[in-house]
Each structure stands twice: as structure tokens, then as C-alpha cells.
């Protein structure tokens, strides 16, 4: 194990925190193709995985990388890939297959500016890409959104755990700011138990019947049954795993909803609002799927207004509106791309909106 970085506070970039935590979580295989702003993950893995006798493959394309992960996790080992925006777009087919095959694929998606080739600056423009998906058919990915470098590490452990526990592809959705910024981080012992996958993994059919993992279902009835089962699993994930952070929402007139790196500035903005006598609270979804619909609905019965703050043209705001279901107005403060709007700027816009 990488003892040097365990139980010690170090100043590190979000990308390195993710990579190091993945190694500590027991990731046996990394497959990837470099792209800014997440290249440090592959860089770290290229050295560390070889040092530990694990697998690192610099894939020929993103399509290859995601399919290599599918192959590796089918055998029961923990494996991952990491990429950004326009390159995660190339992995959508693989993610749909992994969801259909119920495979514990872990994808780290470090968002940059889009659409198209876009630019390398931070963005939250892939909220839809991660939570709604670009692959075919009815499927969901578990999506975790860190807000600090410490959470980049902690949620990486969690991503591997949830992927295994539910046999479902899981995305750690960070952004260019979190990937590139440094903050102190402590790598704790992996807090999650190992999941037994001996009843499904393809480990060679010695002494047992062969197994097939595939998503092809020629009979309509089979597919109906399968999708019902799949959605029961998603329901279970919603019941068990929905996670969020809330600050000062109990007496709030305005609840600010924000995820990831942007929520950092929003928390400060809420504090500044309180100092000005505006009763503001913050709800930060940590899991984007499952989304804290229930909690938002509960709050909507007494909150006067919700304001989502995002670095995109307004994506999560749609999920907040669905959750609130017309009980309260839901407004949007946003910036198309770049580092999040300054807390002062957020406060100014809140004052205009209330």
C-alpha cells in the first residue's frame, strides 16, 4: 500500500487526491486517455500502479478506455477510468452498456468548458451528461459531487463502494477548479467494507456453470422484467444513499441550492446574506443521483424561494424545480464557464431576486 500518504495531512491537488484515494480504495486497474484538466490522475496512476504491481494502460482512445474498464470489472476487480467533458462524451455508449450489464465501473469526470471541444476552464456543464446520460435506454448512474479536495478523496472511496454494492456504474463528478486547486487532505483508511462479488464475477468456470454478462435481450418480455428489476435497484439507491449537506435551512426564507466547487462560494454568500438580515440557507446535494428530491420538497412547504447557483447555463435548476413541484419559485444564478461567481456577486444577485 502507499503508506507514505496514509494518515498524514498533505497539501495536494484535487486530481492527485482522487488518484491516491483510488489506489487506497483498492483500484487494481486504471485505463485512460489524457485530457486537461484531469491529466494528473493518469500521470499519478502511470507511476503508482506499476510500482504496486497493478495495471495501468494508456488507452488508444476514450472508447477503448471505458470498454477496458468494463472488461476488467467483469472479472470482479476494482477498475476505473478518468476523463473530461468532450472525452466523457465518447464514453457514453460504454456507460449505457455498463449500466445494462450491472457492472461496477468507476468514472472520474473532471468537467471543463463545453459544448464541443470547448475550453479547459472549470465548468459544471456536464450535470446533464452525468445525471441524465448520453447513452441509450433507461439507465441511471450514481453521481457523487465533491466540493473540497478532502471530499475528492473521501468520495472516491465511496464511489468504489457504491459501484460494488449496487453493481452500478458510478461517476465522481468534479470540475477543473477542484482538479487543479490544492488544499490539505488526509487520507483515511478506506471506511467501507469489501463487497463479495463471487456470485456474478467472471472468474473462470472451474467447478461451476459458465456465466455470461451481456445486455442483449432479444425477447421483449425479458427486457420488461429486467428493466423493472433495474429500476427497483435505482429506487433502493434513492432510499439508502441520497446525501446532502444543509446549513441554516430550518428558518430560511431563501434556500440556495448548489453543488461541487460552486457550493464553496455559495456557503460564504449565505453567511454574508445572514449578516445583511436576509435569512438564507444552503442545500448542497452531494449525490446528484440520487438527488435530494424529498428534502427539497419538504423544505418547499415553508421556504419562500429557492435559488440554484451553477457554473453552466442552468441545469440542476430543472431538478430543483421538479422536486419543489410548484410549491415555491425556483430562480437561477449562473455563470456560463470559469471559476464560480464571487460570493459578493452572488449576494448582489440574490438581493435582486428576492
Amino acid at each position: 500500500m502507499v503508506e507514505c500518504l496514509k494518515d498524514k495531512k498533505v497539501l495536494t491537488k484535487g486530481n492527485y487526491a482522487i488518484a491516491n484515494a483510488a489506489v487506497l480504495a483498492g483500484c487494481q486497474c486504471y485505463f485512460g486517455y489524457p485530457i486537461t484538466p484531469q491529466s494528473e490522475i493518469g500521470e499519478f496512476m502511470s507511476g503508482k500502479m506499476q510500482e504496486l504491481g497493478r495495471a495501468y494502460v494508456s488507452a488508444e482512445s476514450e472508447l477503448a478506455a471505458i470498454n477496458m474498464v468494463i472488461g476488467a470489472v467483469s472479472t470482479g476487480v476494482k477498475a476505473m477510468t478518468s476523463s473530461s467533458s468532450c472525452a466523457v462524451a465518447l464514453m457514453q455508449e460504454g456507460l449505457s452498456y455498463a449500466a445494462a450489464d450491472e457492472l461496477p465501473v468507476v468514472l472520474v469526470s473532471v468537467m471543463r468548458g463545453g459544448p464541443g471541444l470547448g475550453n479547459i476552464y472549470p465548468s459544471q456543464g456536464d450535470y446533464f451528461q452525468a445525471t441524465k446520460g448520453g447513452g441509450d435506454g433507461d439507465y441511471k448512474l450514481i453521481v457523487l459531487a465533491p466540493s473540497t479536495v478532502q471530499e475528492c478523496a473521501d468520495l472516491t472511496y465511496k464511489a468504489f463502494y457504491l459501484a460494488q454494492k449496487y453493481r452500478n456504474p458510478t461517476v465522481l463528478l468534479a470540475d477543473g477548479m477542484l482538479g487543479q486547486m490544492m488544499e490539505p487532505v488526509e487520507y483515511k483508511q478506506n471506511p467501507y467494507p469489501e463487497i463479495d462479488n463471487s456470485n456474478w464475477a467472471l472468474t473462470g468456470a472451474k467447478g461451476r456453470k459458465g456465466r455470461i454478462i451481456r445486455s442483449y435481450a432479444p425477447l421483449a418480455s425479458d427486457r420488461c422484467e429486467f428493466l423493472e428489476k433495474l429500476y427497483k435497484k435505482y429506487k433502493l439507491i434513492e432510499e439508502n444513499e441520497t446525501e446532502w449537506e444543509e446549513i441554516g435551512v430550518e428558518d430560511a426564507d431563501v434556500v440556495l441550492v448548489s453543488f461541487g466547487g460552486t457550493a464553496r462560494n455559495v456557503k460564504i454568500a449565505a453567511k454574508m446574506c445572514r449578516e445583511k438580515g436576509i435569512k438564507a440557507g444552503v442545500l448542497r446535494p452531494i449525490t446528484l443521483f440520487p438527488f435530494p428530491h424529498k428534502r427539497l420538497f419538504e423544505l418547499s412547504k415553508k421556504v419562500k424561494k429557492f435559488i440554484t447557483v451553477e457554473v453552466n447555463m442552468g441545469q440542476m435548476v430543472n431538478d430543483v424545480r421538479l422536486a419543489v413541484n410548484g410549491n415555491a419559485p425556483v430562480e437561477l444564478i449562473h455563470k456560463p464557464v470559469g471559476i464560480p461567481p464571487a460570493p459578493e456577486e452572488i449576494v448582489k444577485q440574490i438581493e435582486e431576486l428576492i
Binding site: 486547486m181 456557503k267 464571487a342
Partner: protein, 182 residues
């Protein structure tokens, strides 16, 4: 208390490294801290900068429109970041490479021929960034030399450890610079 810092200069002057040392030192001093680089189409010889924030409480934004302390190691950085010094803030100017200086009367100045000093006293202009850091540490009064020394040891990679004594010397030259003789 929350303070913001910005270090700017040519690519290759060790701007990002100086920021990393500063951020590590704050971590060792028990503070919350963030470090954020300018990144984009950066290149050697172009300008580069990084922002460091320290606070006793949770840090929100990693980069602000103004900073309490700004180090500028070249002329281009002086011209660009002079307006970004917070009111009553401080700018530390490497006059060896930034001699055309305008004055704002609502901020503090530290003028010092850092690169020239590095060359004369240490025979290495590469020590510019670390001398500047020493000056900054003294100007802020927020950092002990020992935290900075420990941070230098952390940031300098194993294969460059032979340069640690020179860096420690540079840090001391900056730290012991008498600001009142400006």
C-alpha cells in the same frame, strides 16, 4: 481572519512553487488554505500567477478579484496586478525586473531588487522566488520562519534536495530584509 495572496511573474521564475511553499507553510501553521494556479495556454516566458488563501474558517472562493498581498516578479505582472491589490494591501515589487512603477496612495509598497540580490548574494537568480517569499512572510507577520522551512523541505522534490540549503538561505535573506529601510 482571512487573507489572500497572489504571486505573479514569468513562467520559469518559480511562481507556482513559491505559492505551494506558502500554502504548505500556512497548513503547518494550522490554518485552512487553498492554492489555485492560473492555468490555460501558459508557456515558459509568458506570465503565470497563483492565488493562495488562508483562513481560520472554511474557505469559499479560491481566487478573488483583489488580494491583500501581491508579489510581482516582473514588469508585466506589476502592470497587470497593481489594480488588484486590496485597499490597504501590500505589493512586493522585484525592481530588478520591474522598474517602471506607478504609485497608488491607498496601498503599501515594498520595492526590492530581488533578482539582483539573488545573483549577488547567492550567485543564482533562480532564488528570486524564495527571497520574495521571505520578504512576504516578514511583511505579513503571519508566518514563522520554521513553518516556511518545513514547507520548503516538503515541496522540494527528493531529487533536488541538494538545493535545500541554498533555498533556506534565500528564505532567510528575504525574511531578514528590513522593511523600514524601504
Amino acid at each position: 481572519m482571512e487573507k489572500s495572496f497572489l504571486i505573479a511573474g514569468f513562467g520559469g521564475q518559480g511562481v507556482l512553487l513559491a505559492g505551494e511553499v506558502l500554502a504548505n507553510a500556512f497548513m503547518y501553521a494550522g490554518k485552512n488554505v487553498t492554492w489555485y494556479p492560473s492555468y490555460g495556454a501558459e508557456m515558459r516566458g509568458g506570465t503565470v500567477n497563483c492565488s493562495v488563501k488562508m483562513s481560520d474558517t472554511e474557505i469559499g472562493s479560491v481566487q478573488d478579484s483583489t488580494s491583500d498581498y501581491i508579489i510581482v516578479l516582473n514588469q508585466a505582472s506589476f502592470d497587470r496586478f497593481l489594480p488588484s491589490v486590496s485597499k490597504n494591501g501590500t505589493i512586493i515589487v522585484n525592481t530588478s525586473l520591474a522598474s517602471d512603477t506607478k504609485v497608488r496612495d491607498d496601498i503599501n509598497y515594498v520595492f526590492f531588487p530581488i533578482t539582483q540580490t539573488a545573483d549577488e548574494k547567492l550567485n543564482s537568480t533562480k532564488m528570486t522566488n524564495i527571497i520574495a517569499l521571505g520578504i512576504l512572510a516578514r511583511a505579513t507577520g503571519l508566518l514563522d520562519l520554521k513553518d516556511l522551512e518545513k514547507a520548503l523541505d516538503t515541496v522540494i522534490p527528493p531529487h533536488r534536495k541538494n538545493l535545500l540549503p541554498l533555498n533556506l538561505q534565500a528564505l532567510k535573506i528575504g525574511y531578514e530584509y528590513d522593511l523600514l529601510h524601504v
